[in-house]
């Protein structure tokens, strides 16, 4: 756990030659896209869900 915390703490730190001390591994990057992507898809479709529910409610009330 300590290693992971240190890893994230040192993100952005650079060596003397300007290169990054740590770059995010490709799999870690993919995990980031996964988390963001799944949240984004659920949230966007969730908004569509609320939109349909609201429309159905309005439709029932006006009948």
């Amino acid at each position: 756990m300590e290693n992971i915390i240190q890893y994230f703490k040192s993100m952005g730190e650079r060596n003397a030659d300007g290169s990054l001390v740590h770059t995010l591994g490709t799999t870690v990057q993919a995990l980031g896209v996964t988390a963001g992507g799944l949240i984004g898809v659920f949230a966007t479709l969730g908004v569509f869900f609320l939109m349909i529910r609201l429309a159905n409610l309005i439709s029932k009330k006006t009948k």
Partner: protein, 362 residues
Amino acid sequence: MYGIGGVLIWLAINKEYEPMLLLPIGFGAILVNLPLSVVWEHAGADGFLKILYNMGIATEIFPLLIFIAVGAMIDFGPLFKNPMMIFFGAAAQFGIFATMIIATMLGFDLKEAASIGIIGAADGPTSIFVANIFAPHLLAPISVAAYSYMSLVPLIQPPVIKALTTSSERKIHMAYHESNSPKWLKVLFPILVTMISGFVAPISVPLIGSLMFGNLIRESGVLERLSQTAQNELAYLVTLLLGITIGASMTAVNFLTWKTFLIMGMGLVAFIFDTAGGVLFAKFVNLFLPKDKKINPMIGACGISAFPMSGRIIQKMANEEEKGNIILMHAIGSNVSGQLGSVIAGGMVLALVPLIFIMATI
């Protein structure tokens, strides 16, 4: 490559697996691998297939035109009657992301992995659109994998569903209340979906905008002939050109690599994870529902974009499990949600990959 082209044509004719695409792809693969490859380029001049490629694939016009046609074919009515189904369209995109992670572990870079993962969208045009932006060199195997596995959905989904559900779960009945959705909702829906998607992931607008434009033509009720043209002539013509052009990108040098075999394998993994994601999400939702409101978990598997094939398979499975168990409308509702979910997921991947790339180098 002649053998691969021949197999694709055989699958199209003898097995009727996506014949509208696999036949042109197979023939295109044969054409481009003939001596001198005149159809692609010869004596410094572009051949007709290269012209089509530059015009329709490189510019992403073909997949977007297909989306207008698909949009004109979709009826969101079953979803409006049971909006809960929309979440299965999100859960069944799990395969995209799981496959992307696996692809990075196999040594692909993030953009290649994202393009491979998108096979799990079970949506040819989205796969082509994303692959063309992130990994155009992998476009041919990704397209072939996407369309091949879409045609194999009837073989892929049932064993995965059976492995994750009990017989009693597959026998769950779901009540369906017949009601008509208001017309204004059907008209407003494509407009609002486009606008919301545009704010959430602006890069997804070409994809979602084309799909919803086609749907608006259909639902407007005043453009019947345009709607029919989009569903028939436009769909057939662009599919024909898209297929042969994708086939033309299957040169032996590009296609016969170990990456192609890995991509084909991961395409299957993507479809399995999609199905599993949808089914397991339905089982999770069932934990919170009262006994008489439980969802048949097979519905979750319909959240993939293979429309209406997946919905029909699930209905067939429900009927085999217990005669007279009708869950078709729920399945179709979940299936059209998959159409939305796959496009939104494609947009998310397009937006997030460059963002993560920047973050990784800060």
